[in-house]
Amino acid sequence: METLVACLAGFLVSMAIWLMLSGNLMRFLFGLLLLSNGVNLAILAAGRLTPGAPPLLGTSGALPPDTMANALPQALLLTAIVIGFGLFAFALALTIRAYRSFGHLEVDRMRSAEPAEDS
């Protein structure tokens, strides 16, 4: 199962790189979204996929059995997803603003901060 998830993460990352190499800002953002999801999956897989008991102590306080799930990677993931969502929302708003300012989303033609040498 870990192998499968790892392969899926790798597939997502490769697609993400393909999209991010495009000069279009919108495609880049989609690539970034795929990349962060690929990384999230990788973290989940790195924490081992343990289909066991939930990691909760009973009222008796007895330790749960060894097969309990590892909750920490999921907590990390949740944090990463929330942060990633916020950053993506900002990047999307910035993209809209850039489209309004420039009338296109080709990053190679956004030269107002770094004018070309000959202009």
Binding site: V39, A46, R48, V107, S112, A113
Partner: protein, 500 residues
Amino acid sequence: MSWVLALPILIPFVTAVLAFLLRGSRMGDLASVAGAVVSLAAAVLLVAVVLDRGVVAGQVGGWQAPYGITLVADHLSAAMVLITAIIGLAVAVWSLAEIGPESSRLGYHALFQSLLGGVTGAFLTGDLFNLYVWFEVLLISSFGLLVIGGRKQAIDGAVKYVTLNLIATVLFLAGAGLLYGATGTLNMADLRGAVAASPDQGLMTLIAMMLMVAFGMKAAVFPLFFWLPASYHTPHYAVSAVFAGLLTKVGVYALMRVFTLIFVGDIGYTHEILLWVSLLTMLTGVLGAAAQSDFRKILSFHIISQIGYMVLGLALMTPLAVMGAVFYLLHHIIVKTNLFLIAGVSRRLTGSSDLYAIGGLYRSAPLLAALFIIPAFSLAGFPPLSGFWAKFVIVRASLDLGEWLVAGVALLVGLLTIFSMTKIWAEAFWKAHPEGRQPALADLPPSARWQMMVPIIALAVMTVAIGAFPSAFLDFATKGAEQLLDPAAYVAAVLGEARR
């Protein structure tokens, strides 16, 4: 003692909330300055405690390390927190003169304070994932500060800044996740032992490289710096001053922390890469600066070349070299912020940042000219200013190792730095204004004059003081370097004596 550690982080965020609630009114602006003063007091307290007791650590929520989140301050962290507070106060005062009601109403001061909070958190945390969260806090604040005002040029710069920094962020997250998968811990002190004990050292080096790329991108080292000269000259001057001083240094700090505390298993490989990266960073940065003719663009490229010196100190990894890197880090933040603030005043007086379109400042604003000379010569490494000692220690450390090439490059880059500073001096200060204007400080309204000049004078005095009395600062940096190279005290403070 954990409140000493928590206060420097809490105060900026409380101030940010206050400044946001009062935004647009003069009270909001003043709340930001008042918060910066309180932050400075808290930072001084932290430094005093660290000087008194050595490394201090606190566990958030009472969860014992390595399970809970640890806040920890050694000499380096405490000094970085103090310098963040100093820069925060200087720029908060300076902002009063530059940031108009429009940007203020959009929440400039709230974003500024949360940026400072994020930077401070990154310096104080002892947990790798928590470091990621602080990076995000400061990143999202910096995004807001970069686009505030919404000029076309700033949007363009922000597109490049945001996209490249987000990639670095994802890489950092991936590295942290894989490291947790391989070692089962994220506490940095605990990771030292766990990484050393790992049976798969190759995997550890791989993860180290992922983090090196992620932090290197934040620190703007060769070949990952392209977002910096694309964006740092676009926002408000106050924003670029605080970015120039603090943001890349968080990346350098993270590199120093991780590559002295955690990944020391294969120094021959990782630090050799850091060495070449630092040399190329120094050279490309200073050559890039030589090709520019805009005040802020020249300074932006110089950030890159100076980052190279700090990484160089880390790469050499001798006590003297790491001491030099710590000293360089502290001196550089003050100098660089000051140069950007001076660039802001020059822009305000002359109406442009293009060096060929301005001039005459030496004749009409001699005070500003004198204040420019101090950080500019310090940056280039003139004795007796602070930059001389920083460069001296780094060059000395490389000569001790017999690294002639390294020492040669460091000296050459210093020489080329003088070339760029002379260019700014000749164009902006010495030559007459092309339109015959006489831009004088007296043209500014009195309040703006004070708000702009007092922070610049204060930072210049600090530069001179560090240069004139270097021994106290060098001793402090030596202690910081000792703690970095032998983190037994750090590990003991975090994990308790028993697990040393």
